[in-house]
């Protein structure tokens, strides 16, 4: 993606949940922009493809064990990037619960299911911010959260996922004001994109995917690297130096009333 070339040259970025889907695509986009990309994953062996994408795009991949529900792992991942490359310019928190694509039976489920979502999307959002703060303060960097349209519209089948993604929007608005004096920008992207779950659905239920695509004015689901990646890079780059506290809905026009 030549349009991103140089936007993040020499900048250091940590992307969580970077092993697949949007995280993988966004990592590759940061690679295209010339960044050193910390590929945060629970299992390092699952990051090889992302690392190859980042390298092929022109970036420098760094595979990091980073289960965001483990405070020690996220702290160590940030510390390693800062130790090895001397700086941290952006954190992109993209990881979600492994149950995020499951339907939630709200009336019959338990707090354990809530905890699965909250630990990754709410608590880790706060903890990563606290851990990254001194480094982002030095670079006047950016914190970007991967939220979701579900966190705005409230999904019938995913009330927990919707709630935790909404929490991120409230977090973004408040923290943007709190960190504004430090010149750290805080934003979120709400993407509609092909995910591993949707890839499976394409094979198993192609008609359902066609129905979903039919709801998108641009007629297709977003590509993680080429559709979601560029706006994510932009929001972390100097080009967005005056943008903070915002949620950018990147959905091909699927959601126009959010």
């Amino acid at each position: 993606m030549s349009g991103l070339q140089g936007l993040m040259e020499g900048r250091v970025v940590l992307v969580t949940g970077a092993g697949a889907g949007v995280g993988r695509g966004v990592s590759a986009a940061f690679g295209s922009a010339g960044a050193i990309v910390g590929i945060g994953v629970r299992r390092p062996e699952a990051a090889e493809e992302t690392a190859a994408d980042v390298a092929a795009a022109g970036g420098t991949p760094v595979i990091l064990r980073c289960d965001v529900t483990d405070a020690g792992q996220s702290a160590a991942a940030i510390a390693q990037l800062v130790s090895d490359y001397g700086r941290l310019d952006a954190v992109v928190h993209n990881a979600v619960s492994g149950r995020s694509s499951e339907a939630t039976d709200f009336e019959n489920t338990t707090l354990e299911e809530w905890e699965d979502h909250a630990s990754v999307t709410v608590r880790a959002t706060w903890r990563l911010a606290v851990q990254a703060y001194p480094h982002l303060q030095k670079t006047q960097g950016a914190y970007l959260l991967m939220s979701s349209p579900a966190g705005i519209e409230g999904s019938e089948r995913a009330p927990f996922y919707s709630a935790v993604k909404a929490a991120q929007r409230g977090f973004v608005r408040a923290l943007a004001r709190e960190w504004g004096p430090d010149h750290i920008r805080v934003n979120s992207v709400a993407p509609l994109a092909i995910s591993p779950a949707l890839e499976n659905m394409k094979i198993l239920e192609p008609e359902r995917v066609k129905r979903i695509e039919g709801l998108v004015p641009l007629g297709r689901l977003g590509d993680p690297e080429t559709d979601i990646g560029p706006p994510s890079v932009f929001l972390c780059s100097d080009e967005a130096r005056y943008v903070t506290g915002q949620t950018l809905v990147v959905s091909g026009g699927r959601f126009t009333s959010l």
């Binding site: 606290v130 966190g151 519209e153 409230g154 009330p159 919707s162 709630a163 929490a167 504004g180």
Partner: protein
Amino acid sequence: MATSSRTLVITTGSGIGASVAERLRDRGDVVIEADPSLDLADAHAVSGALGSLVGSETVDRVVLAAIDPAAFRAAPITSLSEEEWDQAAEYPMRAAFVVLQQVHTVIADGGCVVLILPTVATTGVADLVPLCSAVEAIRVMAKAVARRWGARSITVNTIEVELAAFMLGDDVEGDAGGVGVPVVPVLGQPALPPGSAVDDVLGLLDMLAMPAAAAITGALLVADRGTVMQP
């Protein structure tokens, strides 16, 4: 305007929720009020309490103000411990889930659920990151629930009031149980003259209980006298 419905009010015993409960009772509504000391994030306790309070009959209306104003504390996120973050941000979210889940078993078909929240998350407020996160999560959880319960003709809506009104209710000279109201930067002046936020909320509660409002669900009604006019 008193209504003949049975209203279940769930509050933490102070702030606007408590004031609304008192006013409803004063004007002759049938009000069932949960014990303010109830741990709202304890599913077993909430289930037992609502079961014994409501009995074999259902309620027609539920008013839920589940965030404890006395727990608000303005502080930068970097100063919070895990426990403080949990209490300020995640506990209210868990409580909202537990209460809404249990409400589902006691509310009649065609009933209305109204959540009352502060407006802070609409604009975001520095040093109130946990509260802003909780409010936005609860508001969207309510929208998801509105979609789920629509088939039973149950409406679920949210009313938001300014933070001071949320924390103090009718006790406008109070100090919110010694906590004090965090200073919220002035982001706009109210378009309307000052008035009672409790009155404003009561008016909206009555409106939402009317048959004419049966088509309103998943909505956010901001009763802040035109301070934050959403884009």
